[in-house]
């Protein structure tokens, strides 16, 4: 089968196998913390409303925060035990989040789960409701509520569901291990989503640096109705929604549009696995696979309870071999730096990277030499060097005309830039959105 791809893009850390070598052969091991601190605003949209108070005893999987509005999702207890506090704590976002602290009694007593049945026989009209009740949101990093993605607005049609197993970001191996160890859960989740949406075609797309996972998924998908696999070239940002759709279906998402405008819905493989749990076992989303790597002594793929603190993850991986300079969630291209190690793992955090002081240092920026490498690297065919000049000059109106709002913030331009320019597109997009220029 031919390998699919898109125009532009880069090969970050190619000589180091995308930084994945340390953890790609490590089996997933579960980690259960002493205490969890669960933020109620993990997903995109209005924060959920806490419905427990200090002193309450909660069971594993019990709803601790109710969804706010039809697009919201509930938050569940990821351990059983006593609620020790409901506090406001600074997490990764701009403002402090409301967090629910639960001390683990190590009993793991499950709340009563409502099982829908096998993915092929469960009533199709109940699946989306089950996904919502299980609190599932995009586990690839964006954390968009999955049920909201699956309910199409009037007049939109979808003919394909794409499962994103490309994992093009550096360092992350969480999806790789999931596909390798539990391919059946991934395939079942896709079938459930296809039945729920009434879609006939499902494609699981995987990059060629994960051939073992590709073979495992191909074997698991053999004989399943409507499911095919696609092998992608190893290139960043292959896992970007728009790049993936272009590579697999040849369709292009229009500027300012959503994947549904190209008649596609894209789900992450981890999200699909969570859908399987919600349908066949009635279990909510309370844990996720997180790769912990970098300068930790035992780089691992951990099955982490939501709300575990980062310091516990590092301890679970044998501590660090030298003084850490920076911690970040996600890969090195689009990852988010952490303010300290007390931050909680949320449903979106597929990777924690600890780097030393030397690697954390900011590289010195010099002037643009108009080499145009950024233009060649841009996967959405923008002109980063010109947009940089416009944004620096504060001419955001013109930058918007030249489509800065279509930037997917993949930072490929920054990676290839010999002058190490920090392209300020995130700030520009935020300012344009806030001022409605």
């Amino acid at each position: 089968m031919s390998k699919l791809s898109f125009r532009g893009g880069i090969h970050p850390l190619k000589e180091k196998h995308e930084g994945k070598e340390a953890t790609k052969s490590k089996p997933i091991r579960p980690y259960v913390p002493e205490e969890v601190c669960i933020p109620v605003d993990m997903h995109l949209g209005a924060p959920s409303i806490p419905c427990v108070k200090k002193g309450d005893l909660v069971k594993l999987g019990q709803v601790v925060a109710e969804p706010a509005g039809p697009r919201g999702i509930p938050v569940h207890a990821s351990v059983s035990g006593e609620v020790t506090a409901v506090i406001s704590k600074q997490q990764l976002y701009g403002k402090p989040s409301t967090c629910i602290l639960i001390r683990n009694d190590k009993q793991d007593t499950w709340v009563d789960c409502h099982i829908l049945g096998d993915v092929e026989t469960a009533p199709a009209d109940k699946i989306i409701g089950a996904i919502r009740d299980a609190g599932i949101c995009g586990m690839g990093g964006a954390c968009f509520p999955t049920h909201a993605k699956m309910v199409l607005p009037e007049g939109k049609t979808v003919d394909t569901i794409l499962l994103n197993g490309s994992e093009c970001e550096t360092f992350i191996t969480a999806d790789h291990r999931l596909m390798l160890e539990e391919p059946q859960r991934v395939v079942n989740g896709l079938r459930a989503a296809m039945r729920a949406m009434g879609v006939q075609k499902g494609v699981i797309a995987i990059e060629e640096n994960k051939m073992d996972a590709y073979e495992a998924i191909k074997k698991a998908a053999a004989g399943r109705e409507g499911i095919s696999t696609a092998l992608l070239k190893t290139k960043y940002p292959q896992g970007g929604e728009k790049q993936l759709i272009k590579a697999v279906t040849g369709r292009e998402v229009p500027s300012g549009g959503l994947p549904m405008d190209a008649h596609v819905v894209v789900l992450n493989v981890a999200t699909a696995a969570a859908i399987t749990d919600a349908v066949t076992e009635g279990k909510p989303s309370i844990a996720r696979i997180t790769t912990v790597t970098g300068i930790v002594n035992e780089p691992s793929n951990l099955l982490v309870r939501i709300g575990t603190s980062v310091s516990e993850l590092i301890t679970a991986c044998g501590g660090t071999s030298e003084e850490p300079g920076k911690l970040f969630f996600g890969g090195s291209m689009t990852g988010l730096a952490l303010p300290d190690d007390s931050v909680s793992v949320t449903k979106a955090n597929n990777c924690l990277v600890v780097v030393n002081k030397k690697d954390a240092a900011l590289q010195e920026t010099t002037e643009c030499i108009r080499c145009s490498r950024c233009i060649a690297a841009c996967p959405i065919m923008l002109n980063p060097q010109r947009l940089n000049i416009l944004c620096e000059a504060g001419n955001l109106g013109q930058a918007k005309k030249e489509n800065v709002m279509d930037c997917i913030l993949c930072h490929s331009c920054h990676y290839v830039c010999p002058a190490r320019i920090n392209f300020p597109f995130k700030e520009a997009k935020e300012k344009i959105a806030a001022r409605r220029i």
């Binding site: 600074q90 997490q91 990764l92 976002y93 701009g94 403002k95 402090p96 300079g325 920076k326 988010l336 730096a337 952490l338 303010p339 300290d340 931050v343 954390a360 240092a361 900011l362 504060g394 920090n422 300020p424 995130k426 700030e427 935020e430 300012k431």
Partner: protein, 265 residues
């Protein structure tokens, strides 16, 4: 040599020149657009910095807008009272006295005074830094000191000193370009005469404010009691001075336990 050929060429080209000259003279008279000579005089009188403080793209569009009556004659703050008077004279209006303003930073969180939350390693932009988990300062209201306002200032009046912005009041023209540049809205245009200012916006409770910065307003209300003119009030955990009522007596400055109220020289 063929003299006729030379003469006829000269005659034809000369004739064409005269003809075109007549056409152009006619066109100049018939299609002339009347220009208000006041635009040029207004353009001459404004500061000429092309800073955009008036809200127009530059001095030329502003001059046109003034003459058309669309823009206020007091919008050119860099020019100050002198420009207002000149524009009033050109436009035949009464010059009003506009109290000169100045930009002031409502924060004293220098290095060593305000506590950091984490080491920020990233693009040198306040906007970018404040997006990172609530910003690198322990105080969520304090100056980040990465100079977004310094970049916005067209008059070289701002610089970063000891971790926060310092404003040179002699150079500041109160154009207001720095005000929207600050992601924490810490810069305010105040009348130059209002020399007593509460230089803090921290709205947290006293304990959290003290933990974040030693010069934070802790909402103790001592200033409120000390003020004889009802000019200072604690609103939302932070003191605010009404410049209209303030007499610059300095009583509040004396009683403030954290020295967050200052009296500028």
């Amino acid at each position: 040599m063929n003299t006729t050929a030379i003469l006829s060429a000269v005659a034809v080209l000369g004739g064409l020149g005269v003809l075109f000259g007549l056409v152009l003279t006619f066109a100049d008279k018939a299609f002339s657009v009347p220009v208000d000579e006041r635009v040029a005089r207004v353009r001459e009188a404004v500061a000429g910095a092309n800073c955009g403080a008036c809200g127009y793209a530059g001095c030329d569009p502003y001059a046109a807008a003034v003459v058309s009556g669309e823009a206020s004659i007091t919008a050119c703050t860099p020019g100050g009272q002198k420009t207002f008077n000149a524009l009033a004279e050109i436009m035949g209006k009464n010059a009003c006295d506009v109290a000169p303003g100045v930009a002031r930073l409502l924060c004293q969180g220098e290095n060593g005074v305000a506590k950091p939350r984490y080491d920020y390693i990233g693009p040198p932009s306040c906007h970018a830094a404040t997006q990172m988990a609530g910003g690198p300062t322990a105080c969520a209201w304090g100056c980040v000191g990465l100079g977004d306002c310094v970049k916005a200032c067209q008059f070289d009046a701002m610089k970063i000193v000891n971790g926060i912005v310092s404003i040179d009041e002699n150079k500041c023209t109160s154009c207001g370009l720095c005000v929207p540049a600050c992601p924490r809205s810490l810069i305010k245009l105040l009348p130059r005469a209002a020399k007593v200012t509460v230089r803090c916006l921290n709205a947290a409770n006293a304990k959290d404010a003290m933990a974040a910065c030693s010069k934070a307003c802790i909402a103790c209300k001592r200033c409120e009691k000390a003020c004889e003119f009802d000019a200072i009030h604690v609103i939302g955990n932070c003191a605010v001075i009404d410049p209209e009522k303030c007499t610059l007596c300095g009583e509040c400055v004396k009683v403030c336990p954290t020295k967050c109220i200052t009296h500028q020289a």
